[in-house]
Subunit: 297 residues, 4 copies
């Protein structure tokens, strides 16, 4: 098939390569001249594709994705398809779909997992939209997905793809937190000589065998105690959105939220909580934590 | 009544004053010569009291309390009473009571709340042991407690006093965490001009009116944003013991534990968890958090 | 002052009484004919008040409040003031204020705490809006608030009143959870003879002394083990909104969320989580929890 | 090698089979006559093995394991080896090792993961004890472990094997909770047509690909909504021990604990917390949750 790929960064660029290796004709566009782009504007991109066109946006969620979809609305024709493969917040999908539908343009939202390994291993894809539209781009999806029976699903109507990806990332946060809690506990125990080797031994035969544990082995091969890693982590929105969605649906998500809060705390999010605690303790007990006590305690 | 007070620090010293002001005869002992002690050894202390003697230990939990009780066992007679008013872990009370009972010495464990305000306001006292022994020292307890109907209870058998105090402190942790979460949320919102003044306004008429909130006003009077407080806090054991006791009893304590973990995290307890998270993310997505990103994010 | 009170339920009705007792002239309106209303429509209410008018809405948040404000916009004149004292989600306040501003009508949002006790004890009031508008209705606020220095604050611009009330209720959730965790732990321990009496003893002299603990005594006076209370609780939105707001602000709120999730779980919110856990365990270990095991474990 | 297997239940029986299939000579003993045991007492078992003997206990932790080790101490000779493959709490290992060492008997503790799949797939084994003793039984361990580079580790000194297994199970709890939270969230969303199929699609290409997810597919093949699974789960001790160990080491484990508490809550552990919440709300607001409201909310 012919496809226009918008955004040729780490994800979009690799996906374009995998599509080409699978026999598809990809025309690539990116804002940056250094991106290896084939065309220099969205208008050129649209002109370079045979109708009905398929456009895949792989740009940052929010403003950038909004801007691309707005511009595409003015350039595309009825029957063309736009697929948003970015990390868009799922409520925005409905808005994008309705906007494009005014001109008869079809829309699919697509959550993409796999990271830098996807180029080789294939990407797990979860889509939202109409079955008929999904079927029309199926050859592209079949090339992007991993070999075998898994890695591709039409999760639901518009928004379902990004909702699924959001939930997927929430689970990912929870799993990483679980491994982290285990590793940290072993790091402080006299009974475990080598926490990293112990974790790695679980890659086979154990209940916690997983791709994340496979990756963990890569990480600890050169740095068994992970001393080179910063004890601070950003959060990229999706676990936060999942906790919020679950709150509204009445579903408790303490493990997902714990993972998220750990990251927010590492960026100073809990500092004012601790100041209140310290201030109250100082009032009733004189327990002001002195900075010079911290190192020695 | 006559009473021997062992440990004349911030708590023990103030309690001795309150007892004297209530008409009791207090003989004070402390290891430190600068403590204002009346006698220079436990043996002298015992000798200075009329039988049956009442001894109140107000020394750090663990080794120091163990040492005092062991020495008292050798010095006291049947019918004497030892009251442990420190923050002893409740399982140790049974051991202490059994040890003293070998020589016919009675034992009460007593949780004491009130901090530096207790001297004036009175102390909330919760005791464990036999009702008959409790009744014998009731005049002392009535002097130490606040005026009015509250602030004194025989919570249960030996261990019950410190179990109650442990639970009390767990609740205290949870309440301070709750106030802290509210304050921190308001500190980051554009909609609240003065988080401290807003909190203080709740001292009257609101559901969250409480002594902790009264103390909070003292803290923010000179430092409304609490910028002078360190964003780090120690934990003194009791909330940890409560979470552990509840785990064994099958009772979830997420709010208490959240407060405890926040403090442990502030001392670096979660650093290795974050290192695992960061290491895994770097493997699958190249998302290594760079130190120079931290300040600007 | 003259004031129109819209909504004469438990809260609005009591507030009207307290205002009248304070010398104000209150015209009351409610949809229900049985409410003791003075007028039968908003139009009549507006007509019965001298300009510039003050209208206080005390109706359910969301649709009912939206409807009242929309209707008032058509009835009021520039310089009139609308105060929303319901539990409105704070982002709606900005919308309401902007809507009314189109006709020159001023707006204040007001969080009200105090429950059924407010009638007698006074209500804690936190407001959002302009200082000048706040000052114009100050006599009404001074009557509604408790006597003394606390219980009234202008927390910030429009939205600040309900934001403050939302945070207040989040803290309230966390405090009740903390007391609950302590009580539940004591209920299962052999070392505490009477958990209710132990809790009540803390009303004086202890760090956890609070109005909630005062209320707790009322609850346990006739039912010390609280066996008559259902082990299920609804959530009314505000703690949920607080957790969501804090998530967006990057502030962790584990204690508040724990309280909320406990309630959601009591309504079946975690059932599907447990089904996944049970299904996975059954696959790897044959550990299907049988229903007849549940009672005996 | 020759080995005596004590306990021929689901785990011990399968391990005996795998050892025999690997060419070892296994003499099996179990208390139950229906177990397919080779001998009818521990004394017979010991007599049937050539010295130096290797005995593997695979019986319930606590009393049963204590009893077996005590009896073996009286039957074995210096240089014999006892391996405890049950789910013993790690502090008990030190006691068992010291006890056996009085007669020169060597001890290894061994955490075993793999469940019913281990018979075919091999067991993940983590051991605690001396390297020299570990090396002597290496041929048995190599048969029990999965093929390939993973699944066997000497984690540390005595206690290290069960400590590692405890941490492993804590991680397992956290991972299952994470999957459960995701599934439950999707179950309540209109945007996901088939939560089970969506989860299963992640088995390949995604970051959350894992053996637990493989097992999940088995579970949902006949029951996609898991309606046949009870929304209640027991806890078997190890996650609880991990949270307790981490608390003492100063490491927060909110995700692990969340999983554990969810299970305790499903058994009624939070009921008294909710009763306090409901009682307090009834006092200040008249919000008693009525049982007949529950179904309709």
């Amino acid at each position: 098939m012919h496809i226009g790929m918008i955004g040729l960064g780490r994800m979009g660029g690799n996906m374009a390569k995998r599509l080409r290796a699978g026999g598809h004709t990809v025309v690539g566009y990116d804002m940056s001249p250094d991106s290896g782009r084939d065309v220099t504007s969205l208008a050129e991109l649209v002109a370079a594709l045979p109708a009905p066109r398929v456009l895949w946006t792989m740009v940052p969620a929010g403003g950038p994705t909004d801007a691309v979809i707005t511009e595409l609305k003015g350039l595309l024709d009825a029957g063309d398809i736009v697929i948003d493969g970015g990390n868009t917040h799922y409520p925005d999908d409905r808005r994008h779909a309705d906007d494009l539908a005014e001109r008869g343009i079809d829309f699919l939202d697509c959550g993409v997992s796999g990271g830098v390994w996807g180029a080789e291993r294939g990407y797990a894809l979860m889509l939202g939209g109409d079955r008929a539209v999904f079927d029309r781009v199926r050859p592209l999806l079949d090339t992007l997905k991993p070999e075998g029976d898994y890695g591709l699903t039409l999760a639901g109507p518009v928004g379902g793809g990004h909702f699924a990806k959001m939930v997927h990332n929430g689970i990912e946060y929870g799993m990483m937190q679980a491994f982290g809690e285990g590793f940290a506990t072993m790091m402080r125990s006299d009974l475990i000589d080598d926490p990293a080797a112990t974790m790695v031994s679980w890659r086979s035969g154990s209940v916690v065998a997983s791709w994340l544990l496979d990756l963990f082995e890569n990480a600890v091969q050169t740095d068994p105690g992970l001393r080179g890693m910063p004890a601070v982590a950003n959060e990229s929105g999706e676990a936060r959105w999942m906790v919020e969605a679950a709150l509204e649906l009445g579903v408790p998500t303490p493990a997902t939220a714990a993972a998220l809060w750990q990251r927010q705390t590492s960026r100073g999010g809990a500092d004012d909580i601790l100041r209140v605690v310290t201030a109250m303790r100082a009032q009733f007990g004189g327990h002001v934590t002195k900075v010079d006590e911290i190192a020695t305690h």
